[in-house]
Symmetry: C2
Subunit: 337 residues, 2 copies
Amino acid sequence: MSGLRVAVAGATGAVGAELLRLLAERKFPLASLRLLASARSAGRVLPFDGEELPVEELTDASLEGCDLAFFSCGGDRSRRFAPRARARGTVIVDNSSAFRLDEDVPLVIPEVNAAALDGHQGLLAVPNCTTIVFLMAVAPLHREAGLSRAVVSSYQAASGAGQAALDEYDAQTRAAAEGRPLEASVLPRVLHGNVIPFVGDLREDGATTEEQKFPDETRRILDDTDVEVAATCVRVPVARAHAVSAALEFRRPLEPARAKEILRVAPGVVVVDDADPPDYPTPLDASGRCDVFVGRIRRDASRPGGLLLWSVGDQLLKGAAWNAVQIAEHLVRRGGV
Amino acid sequence: MSGLRVAVAGATGAVGAELLRLLAERKFPLASLRLLASARSAGRVLPFDGEELPVEELTDASLEGCDLAFFSCGGDRSRRFAPRARARGTVIVDNSSAFRLDEDVPLVIPEVNAAALDGHQGLLAVPNCTTIVFLMAVAPLHREAGLSRAVVSSYQAASGAGQAALDEYDAQTRAAAEGRPLEASVLPRVLHGNVIPFVGDLREDGATTEEQKFPDETRRILDDTDVEVAATCVRVPVARAHAVSAALEFRRPLEPARAKEILRVAPGVVVVDDADPPDYPTPLDASGRCDVFVGRIRRDASRPGGLLLWSVGDQLLKGAAWNAVQIAEHLVRRGGV
């Protein structure tokens, strides 16, 4: 197979590092690989598959001639550079929230709605990381019983707010261990020894932008405008891997035993749910893993036919880099790039 | 006022320490104060109001002649010692879960159901700490609109599992800062840099004992057997102060603005809920405070008339010691002890 000319925009970030690792590990068919980042990072060198590659500044020119570009450098840069590159024929896989609700942009979790990639128009969006962790567990159950409503509370890792937030959390841990005062400037509050019930920006209706992504993206990915999702998003002192606690209501009753059967054979899902001794997945278990881990699957006694469950996934991997690489591999297999 | 002969069983624990501090600070009417603990701690000396008091072993004999005893040393010791002391005329305020569902034992949050103390039979129970943090926010709204169902996910502090769990978490923080491996033996998993979706013991139906306390105790405290509560209880790397994310459904619609009005005048509740700049309560804000802090009050777009909110309280104080002292003060005022 002849390779593709690929660019990674945001190569120096936390998701960028995972993208590079996965492209090498998966032996993604590369004719060339261009690492792009902000002017500040240009001139750095990053390891890739035993070599060292230079980082160039992300510009219209540096994207020219690429067949495929991964974008992981925030919504503003995606909005600025992706449409022009796409117009010049580069297929874009975008990790930002910039285009996720655009009608002509497929919003795809390959295990859930790969068919949405067919006939794409050069721009594909990776869903919000927490929504991916939620839907990997919920979409297979939706197919069986028809999800009508979900109430979700999240437990989101520091690295979901970027490398600087993770560094700040690590610095706070060291300060706590040494009895020094804890300082916060990247995240809105101290994270070590705390949880922060506020992720994203505040909307007029009192929800945060992060919380609104749950209903918006769930409806698009499940292709069902009647699904309701109420979300509360909370940052917790965890390095990587987001978790969600979910209460699910279905159009048709779903027994916990049947839900476990379905999830045990769902691609990309690992059920960790044992009684003796009790076993369940935690963020530390999921860190560095591409699968999403589901446990605490049980009847919701407060709602006939309802279910409660707990889902955990590494948001840098399945929540971002791995989902993006899966989309790209799918396109390569189908000749869509 | 002539004072009471008081005992604190579990004086050397995390809740015991707060009880002693509060009894001194509140100038609780004491004729004598006896500090009781396990045989292992007998002979130690604890500070109380500028003095030093000896710790005696908790036995039937050491409780003799007491007018009032606070129990904070686990369900087993409460079950073993409280009934006999009560039979000999000692009024018991019990922080354990041993008697919370007994018909003749009032289960009381004074701001919510103080009337249940009238005509007590010598044994009073303090509710589960997380349920208190939940109900301090929810009971005033229930009185207005009639709670029908709540979906709750908790964010519970290490000290809720006792001083040993808190010490283990602190040791893990130091190990993490120094790059040493993290070890867990008190809690079922490593807590630093992690969250543990499992608090208490597993029940036959897949819920944990901690999760089942929510519906059981909520129904007793609100005196409403029709209220449904689904809970998922999660331990988080926080030293003290539990938080809950709650989705509330009511029999009559309740607007967020009206809910805020109600909570702003609710005793023992502080509303922290601002838009510009965004403000909301975190566990660090609530630590060391007797009030319960409520924020993120907003419409639940997934359920007509429903509300979402976030509630935080120091579980050693309002979740345990302070609620117990409030009960005792109430009894003293009413001549009930």
